[in-house]
């Protein structure tokens, strides 16, 4: 779900996100970089969760197979989703670079 909202913010950027970064303004609130960083952290967290679930199941500590498999899939799918977002961003960037002025 987080990823969907991410995509939305990207396709319809609100005015404050595209505020030009001046010398005095510093980093704008909710910059794209921050958002991406947060997404990466989240995905890393999901990967760690998956690792934890796997060791839990395989070393007989706790958890069940389906929990581990779901954790693995969550990590995989969220990574792919982030990659799609990144690809879209790159496309948009390249589109802008090709623009005639």
């Amino acid at each position: 779900m987080d990823k969907v909202t991410t995509q939305k913010t990207v396709s319809n950027p609100s005015p404050q996100t595209i505020k030009p970064v001046g010398k005095d303004s510093g980093k704008p609130q909710g910059a794209f970089g921050d958002m991406l960083k947060q997404a990466v952290t989240e995905i890393n967290q999901l990967q760690n969760n998956a690792d934890k679930a796997i060791t839990g199941v395989q070393l007989g500590q706790s958890g069940s197979i389906h929990e581990a498999m779901i954790a693995l899939e969550k990590a995989d799918i969220s990574f792919r989703a982030m990659m799609q977002v990144r690809n879209k961003i790159l496309d948009a960037y390249q589109e802008i670079m090709r623009m005639q002025v």
């Binding site: 199941v57 007989g60 706790s62 958890g63 069940s64 197979i65 389906h66 498999m69 779901i70 693995l72 899939e73 995989d76 799918i77």
Partner: protein, 141 residues
């Protein structure tokens, strides 16, 4: 691990039913045995099963509700020994009676079918557990 618990429970059922089968077969084989090492005729044996809480490492409320089955004891049924008047028999007593075991072949056969079905049920339960775990491996495929 969750499915290992149900494997253990199924395994306890299988062992118990097989023990029961051993006893039934012993009853049938000795249906007319009139001499035993303890003296007297063979006496019918009955398996007494008892529930036993699952000893799981992870004590949870659910695991407390689960129980394995174990063979509590093998009870010797001394009732209803058949006395047959047969004075020529070498095992006849002073009055000329020979004591035969109290094994009823019909009862034993019926018990055998029950045991067979129970064993099959345990195997099926085990298979289902295994299939469930294998299906869980297919999540996301």
């Amino acid at each position: 691990m969750d499915f290992i618990t149900s494997f253990d429970i199924s395994a306890s059922g299988l062992s118990a039913q097989r023990k029961k089968m051993d006893v039934i077969v012993s009853n049938l084989a000795n249906a007319s045995t009139i001499q035993t090492p303890e003296g007297g005729p063979y006496k019918r044996k009955v398996v007494v099963l008892a529930a036993e809480p699952v000893n799981s490492k992870f004590g949870s409320a659910l695991n407390d509700a689960l129980s394995q089955v174990k063979v509590q004891e093998i009870f010797e049924d001394g009732e209803g020994l058949k006395k047959v008047h047969d004075p020529t028999h070498p095992n006849a007593d002073d009055q000329g009676f020979v004591t035969y075991p109290n094994v009823n072949v019909m009862t034993e056969m019926a018990d055998m079918i029950t045991v067979n079905r129970a064993y099959e049920a345990c195997v099926t339960a085990l298979d289902v557990t295994k299939n469930m775990a294998l299906k869980a491996l297919d999540i996301g495929k």
